[in-house]
Symmetry: C2
Subunit: 317 residues, 2 copies
């Protein structure tokens, strides 16, 4: 088989991106660092690109999709947990009381995650996530959650890979939750997905080998955890880093302090009509310090409303 | 560029392997699972191959090479640690008293590792390892340690990759120690190296972004830790697993309980003349339960003396 190393020059590799400074900045960077005659040339092995997921490769409103998963699981599992009717945070979930759920804070959310993500084997969990994705629909768009990936970001991932970048997800979301569907959705295989995790044990019985998921945190891949996770899982510093919130700031800082020419990209949610508009005051995907630092450092900021002519793949003609 | 999907039929992809049942078993397996018309066909995305490192891709006698690194580092660092002259395990190292060092047990070795592997930034550590590799020689062969990789295993890695297997290292050794040289030695990039690790923190100061290594264990990638590490880092079950000691047994068991046709490979060190001969009674790389299970399960066992016509690349004509 042949591998296309670059698109024909007359073809637009980023058709869902409007012409302008954002699109130009991306194209100019990739052109510069992949040209062997350029002083900015980066050898193929060092072309590491890292992407946040929630709110960066797919939507994250009105709540993280993995939280919808946990909520749906609580409702399914409630039948065998009658005590949940009277116990927070489960009570709030069963009563569709989102404010009550949020009032339980980080501790309540963690309890929710452990009750729904731990106890089973890895294979069982993967099949639970897969079934949920097939059966569930996003409340606003009435479509499967994995339909709500961003078409322009799919094009960017494909464009980078065509220029021999290795693309990784580096997300605060659960790594085992993501790996079920990220290969199909983004063309990113499980071993290139870095995320938060819980501890596991290995079980072996008469030829049957399983990984069992424990209700104990292993690693939180957020904020300073992102460069730590990149070092732990990838072992190279990214030259291209893309995120949408203050939780990505350290990843972008880590990428920016580079011996190679590097690229830092923030997605600014500015499109209340086609998607959502939120930034400095949002509890989900807050982008505040990141906006200031992007301005100060000259990082590229995507204005979703102005820079993207389409949001989701199902909207492409 | 073109990618060669398979060698021409008349070319031997494993020239350092003698004809016989071991070589045939490998060739037959790869042929079966990469043939789209075969019932045993494995899709490319699921062709995951995992390799132990010490004693499996390079030698591990008379001691793990990473232990030689730690010992050499103690000797260099001793000047600024006068107290080490009277403190075990450092005293034993400085007096070349290997028996004394071993008598300090796991705790002593851990202390040695932390003193020599922690405190500095990731970049500093990588440069220390790189410098050491360039300056140090193996006591028996008087060659750089990374000359002592196994030529037949290099051919096997290349052969698997030519058939679109993704090759990973899964080793009890330190991941940051290995990643410095495994891309050059084996063609395996840092993000495909799974190993033991210590905790790190992210430091940021005025544009300078660093990962600092802490004297605290994070993960031990050995025995049951190997399938756990594979699940954590790779997220898919290997179809091909290769090791040389009881520390690999769980990885081979995990691989063997597979929905796909899978392959389990043990390297048996039987060549006292060209390399070393050791198995059931060795303190380094003990292969005891593994030999029994390989016999019981029909796993493939490499007889180094009989199956390999050359050991190291520098011995190739
Ligand atoms: Ca995000
Ligand atoms: Ca070994």
């Amino acid at each position: 088989e042949l591998i296309a190393t670059s698109p024909a020059p007359e073809q637009d590799p980023l058709p869902s991106w409007n012409e302008g400074s954002t699109k130009s900045a991306i194209l100019d960077y990739v052109t510069a660092v992949t040209n062997p005659d350029s002083a900015d040339f980066i050898p193929i092995d060092d072309r590491i690109a890292t992407f946040d997921n929630d709110g960066n490769l797919w939507s994250e409103q009105p709540a993280y999709f993995q939280l919808f998963f946990a909520i749906d699981r609580v409702k399914v599992m409630a039948e065998s947990h009658p005590e949940w009717k009277d116990t927070m945070p489960f009570k709030a979930v069963l009563e569709d009381d989102m404010a009550g759920l949020i009032s339980t804070g980080e501790h309540g959310l963690l309890e929710l995650v452990m009750a729904t993500h731990a106890g089973m084997t890895a294979i069982e969990f993967e099949s639970i996530v897969d079934d949920w994705l097939k059966a569930s629909k996003h409340p606003r768009f009435d479509r499967p959650y994995n339909d709500l990936v961003y078409q322009p970001m799919l094009e960017l991932l494909t464009y980078l890979r065509a220029h021999q970048f290795k693309t990784f997800i580096v997300s605060g979301g659960g790594v085992s939750f993501m790996r079920v569907w990220t290969e199909d959705a983004y063309g990113i295989p499980p071993d290139q997905v870095v995320g938060s995790s819980i501890k596991t044990v290995f079980e072996y019985d008469n030829g049957q080998a399983s990984i069992r998921r424990l209700a104990e945190l292993d690693f939180i891949d957020d904020k300073a955890g992102k460069p730590i996770g990149i070092h732990k899982y990838i072992g190279k510093r990214p030259v291209f880093a893309s995120g949408n919130s203050d939780g990505d700031l350290q990843m972008l800082q880590y990428s920016a302090d580079n011996t190679y020419k590097s690229f830092q990209l923030y997605l600014h949610h500015t499109d209340a009509e086609r998607e959502w508009a939120y930034d400095r005051d949002s509890s989900i995907g807050r982008l505040d310090k990141g906006l200031d630092e992007a301005a100060a450092k000259g990082w590229t900021v995507i204005d979703m409303k102005g820079d993207w002519n389409v949001i989701y793949p199902f909207q492409v003609d």
